[in-house]
Structures are given as structure tokens and as C-alpha cells.
Amino acid sequence: MENILSNLQQFWQFTGFANCNGQYLIMIFFGLLFLYLGIKKEWEPMLLVPIGFGILIGNIPLFQGLKVSVYEEGSVLNILYQGVKQGFYPPLIFLGIGAMTDFSALISNPKLLLIGAAAQFGIFGAYAISLAFGFDPAQAGAIGIIGGADGPTAIFLSSRLAPDMMGAIAVSAYSYMALVPVIQPPIMRLLTTKKERLIRMKPPRPVSPVEKKLFPIIGFLLTAFIVPSGIPLLGMLFFGNLIKESGVTKRLANTASGPLIDVVTILIGLTVGASTQADQFLQWRSVWIFIIGACSFVIATFTGVLFVKIFNLFLKEGNKINPLIGNAGVSAVPDAARVSNNVGREYDPSNFLLTHAMGPNVAGVIGSAVAAGMLLGFLG
């Protein structure tokens, strides 16, 4: 009897209940919140559900040595986490994004590319704010990339510049991407007049298949020559798009845009979530990362919309751009473009801005990858 009691007592020490403290409960609460937002509210469910469940996995209180924690070398989760740590999941996600993205809107109206560039001010605004709050330049660069509104880019850059802050940065980036419909509309309304919101843009011209094939090749060569450090992201993005547009590699495109990206999304979401172990995550600097991350989204939306307003001063009547698509330059494909469309339709239900907004939206992906390459070049 005594032995049985002793065994049960020993077993109790192994359980999560015995090792639990308030920090773990807070993180479990966040995990449940993510699951609620993803499942019930359907905010970016593809991301929030795996991340939310990952947070639960990573925050089951346990004592080290069981070889199950994401930070314990050799554990299954640790092996899966290597894709995040070594940075090979993000380029694979970019491959899938490339294979899913139709750049027609951008090719038919290439001036929309510039909006994608303007919105990258969010990254560098957040960089400057982070420096002011005492983060060192590498950490500031990793925090700044949240403003790129691109989860894979954020993970890729933070895994190189500030690996210890990657969990907080990734969760922050994905959270704000999910919150784009909440963050952006007030800023868009604040910066635009009613007349501007009613601007109707010319329908995009038909794009030939040759142009679609040339875009990824020229796009890659140009951007990679300018920022070679962005090759992993840019190369995979444009390669993915080429296999889609070439017309002869349909099977590869289907795999990249279907099973491959799904598998990697599951792994990246789950392991990023699991990396938010309470002892690693619940620190004051994580709070600052979330605050600065929010600032970066606000700045990016501001600069995107303002840039369109300024750009319109130089455009002829009839060629003007509706400033409501300026927000889409932040990337966050395709949610930011949907926000442009929804806000536009509030003022003119027959004005569909989605096609136009997809231009700056995908330009934002290219812009943020170039910006990430720049940060890596200067700070890596």
C-alpha cells in the first residue's frame, strides 16, 4: 500500500497540475482565445487555429527532461521546430503563395507597385520606435518586420536577427494580420474625403499569358540583383508564380499551392505556437513587441493611403487611384484587399475595389521581402 501511494505521489510530480503556475494559465488562456477567434469569429482560421493549439501544446506545465518540449533537443516538436529555427518553412510558404497569386492586377496597372513600396514605411517606422525603446538594432529590425504584415517574412527575419524573440514576433505578426479588418478601416476613413472614396478606377486591361510568364522571371532577376539577401523569399515567391503561369507545370503548381503549403502552414503554425512557452514568452519585452507591432501596422496603413493621395496629385483625371486601396500595400494577402473593397462599398455599393486592391496587396509581398533582405544585409 505504501509503495502504491509512493508511486502515485511520484506520478503526481510528473503531471501538469503539479508543475502548473499562473504564467502557464495565462498562456493557455491566450491559446484558447486564439482558438475562439479562429473558430468562432473565423479570423484567419488557417493561422490562428494551429497557432492557438500550438500555444496549448507549448504551455502544458512539465518538467524538463521528458524530451517533449519544443526547446529540448531531439524531441519531436524540436525537430519540427527546426523548420522555423533554421528558416526553411517561410520560403516554402512563399513558394505556395507564389503558386496561388495572380499578378494580373499588378501587371495591368504596374504603378500600383509603388503603393506596395510606400506601405513598407511601417517596417522602418517600427524599427525606429524599437530603437527608441532600447532594443538593439538587430532586435529592432526583427520587430520592425511585423509591419511587413507577412508571417513567413517575419519568421524568416526574426529567426536570423533575434531568434529568442521569434515566438513573440510571429504571434504578434499573425495576430495583427487577423486584426487588419479592425485596425485599418478607421485610419482609411480618417485620411480620405468622401469624394476620394467614390473614385472609380479604370477596369484593368487584359493581360497576355506572355506577360504573366515574364513577370516572375524579370521580377526575380531584378529584385534579387538589387537585394541578394532576399533570395530565399523572392526566389521561392517568383518560382512559385512561374510554375503557375508557365502552363506546363500544372502538377507542381497544384502541389505547391495545395498540399505543400497546407503541410507547411500546419507545421509553422503549430511550432510557432508551441514556441511561446510561458517562461520564454511572458516577459515585458513581449508586451513591447505587441505595442510596437500595432504601431507598425498603423504606420504602414497611414503611409499607404497617404502615398496614393499624393500620387493622385500627379495623375490625370480618369487615371486617379482610389486611396482606399492604399491600405492593401501592407501585404496581409488577401485580407487587406478585402478591407479596401468592403470600405469602398460602404460608400458606393457598386464600386468593387477588390481587383485593384490586389495589385498593391501582392506588391506589398514583394516590397516586404525586399525590405527584409535589406534588414538582413545591414543587420544580419
Partner: protein
């Protein structure tokens, strides 16, 4: 199939050999010291002549099987043993060899000494290709080394360009004093508020996307012009090609119009080529297209009596 396998194997081996040879070609003689009185000592406590190799590449290089020599007429004088983990030189790292004429003391002790050598030569594993060579400067004093001013930089044909007497010996480490400050620290000193980096990076982002914009603006103009020419040429030949086989042209026109209206109304496509091609369906048999592969078998219902 067998041929393809053999071909693939040959291609793989050739590429691997080329890649290996290529990386061995990035090894550089980097520094040497002839009269070692009180400088670096080996594992046996001896002060011997030494020379250093530097991996100038950004990949690990296995120098096992390569040769070191002091005799241009005998390029295979000392073969670096293969299979030793220590001969795998990490990117931008150094490896030190003791020129003590005591090869039995280990992988890194060669069978010649520098006091009697006229030059040091590093040869690839093929025993023929000289990767780097440097004449031995016998005017060097005690504990004075001769090396590249910067690791791996300078000529490798023996003319000594980029080499000089060094201020201090630096066995197994950088010849030049490297600025220890990492990039972020430098950036912090130059740009404490982040404005310079922001402006630089945004200039680059805008430049890249402006060039892309200009290129695709140009391609768009060319494409529109080509499209106009094509449609003009198509209109000119419409009358001549109005029938194909026995089907009247009106049928094609009706099909094309119906398809176009369907696709526009359904918003199924955003881009139409306005060309409809009707080809006979080719139903070539393959095992993948049989019904056996594609359908589940219908379950048999057995009625109980």
C-alpha cells in the same frame, strides 16, 4: 531505364567531383613561419616551422586527399590523409600544418621543413592541379611570420601579391585585426535613431519597384501594340478562313459567343485570349485512366432468403 540510371549516376558523380574540386580550389596558403624559437608550439611541445591554410569559401571544404609539397617537381610529396574529421575545414576557417618533417606525428605534420624549402605548394586531390603556391622568404627573422595582409586575399600564382611580413604571428586565426564590432553594433553607432537605415532601405525598395514598374509599363505597351496588329491581321483573314471542314463558320461564331458570354457572366475568367480551339479528344489508353483505377467497386448486395 538502366541507361537512364547509369547516366544519372555519371552526371551526379561528375557534378559532385566538380563541386568538391571547386571548393578545394578555394583553399589558400595564408601564412608561414620558418624560424620558430618561442612562437606557437605543437602538441609535442616542439617549436617547429608552420604554415597555415585558409578556407576562403563559404562552404566546408574537405582537404583530405589533397597534397602539400615544397618541390614543384614532386607535387605528391605529402598527401593529407583522408577520412580525418579534422580535415573538413569550416567556412572561412584556418588550419595549421607543422613543417617539421615528422609525418608520423599526425595528419597535420608534413614530411618537409621550411628551412630547406624554396616554396610551399597546395595541390588538389588529383595530384596535378596547383591551387596555391608561395615562395619561401628565407630573410625572415626569428618568430617572424610572412602572410597575406587579409585572409585569402591576393594572388595564388606564387608572385606574392597581397603578402607581406606580418606585425605579429597569427597561427590559426585572422592575419588582419578584424573589426570585432558586429554589424548591428556598427549600425547603432552610425545610426542611433534608425533614420539613415530607414531612408536607405526605402530608397532601395522604391528603386526596385520603380524599375519593375517601368519595365512592365514598357512590356504592357509593346503587348498592346502587338495585340492590335494581331487583331488587324486576324480580321483581314477572317473571310478566307470562314469555314473549316464541313462546319460552317457561323457555328464557331455561335460557340465562341456563347462561351464568352458564359465566362463573362459567371466571372469565371479575368483574362480571355478570345481564341477558341476545338480539337478532337485523344483518348489514349493508360493504366492510370482505367475505370479499375478510378472507381470503387460497386458493393454486391446479398439478399438473405
Amino acid at each position: 531505364m538502366k541507361r537512364i540510371k547509369i547516366l544519372l549516376t555519371v552526371v551526379f558523380l561528375t557534378v559532385s567531383a566538380a563541386a568538391m574540386a571547386q571548393s578545394q580550389g578555394q583553399m589558400r596558403l595564408n601564412e608561414y613561419l620558418i624560424i620558430n624559437v618561442s612562437d606557437y608550439q605543437d602538441d609535442f611541445g616542439q617549436h617547429s616551422s608552420w604554415f597555415e591554410l585558409f578556407n576562403a569559401s563559404y562552404g566546408t571544404v574537405d582537404i583530405g586527399g589533397c597534397f602539400l609539397t615544397d618541390d614543384p617537381d614532386n607535387l605528391k610529396k605529402y598527401q593529407i590523409p583522408g577520412g580525418d574529421i579534422q580535415t573538413q575545414i569550416k567556412p572561412r576557417q584556418h588550419v595549421l600544418f607543422w613543417a617539421d618533417n615528422q609525418p608520423f606525428r599526425g595528419t597535420f605534420h608534413v614530411n618537409f621543413d621550411l628551412e630547406n624549402a624554396s616554396e610551399i605548394i597546395f595541390v588538389k586531390g588529383d595530384g596535378k592541379t596547383i591551387v596555391d603556391r608561395i615562395p619561401v622568404n628565407h630573410e625572415l627573422g626569428e618568430n617572424v611570420s610572412y602572410g597575406r595582409l587579409e585572409d585569402g586575399i591576393g594572388s595564388f600564382n606564387g608572385d606574392g601579391e597581397g603578402w607581406s611580413v606580418l606585425e605579429r604571428t597569427s597561427p590559426s586565426t585572422n592575419n588582419a585585426l578584424v573589426d570585432k564590432a558586429a554589424k548591428p553594433d556598427k549600425m547603432k553607432a552610425i545610426d542611433p535613431h534608425g533614420f539613415i537605415l530607414a531612408l536607405t532601405a526605402m530608397t532601395v525598395v522604391f528603386t526596385a519597384l520603380i524599375i519593375l514598374y517601368l519595365l512592365f509599363k514598357l512590356i504592357g505597351i509593346i503587348n498592346i501594340r502587338a495585340g492590335k496588329k494581331k487583331s488587324a491581321a486576324a480580321q483581314a483573314t477572317t473571310v478566307e478562313k470562314s469555314t473549316y471542314g464541313e462546319i460552317p463558320a457561323e457555328t464557331y461564331a455561335a460557340i465562341a459567343t456563347a462561351l464568352h458570354l458564359y465566362l463573362v457572366a459567371e466571372e469565371a475568367h479575368d483574362d480571355e485570349s478570345f481564341v477558341v480551339t476545338l480539337n478532337p479528344v485523344d483518348r489514349t489508353y493508360t493504366p492510370w485512366s482505367t475505370h479499375i483505377q478510378g472507381f470503387r467497386q460497386t458493393p454486391t448486395v446479398i439478399k438473405k432468403k
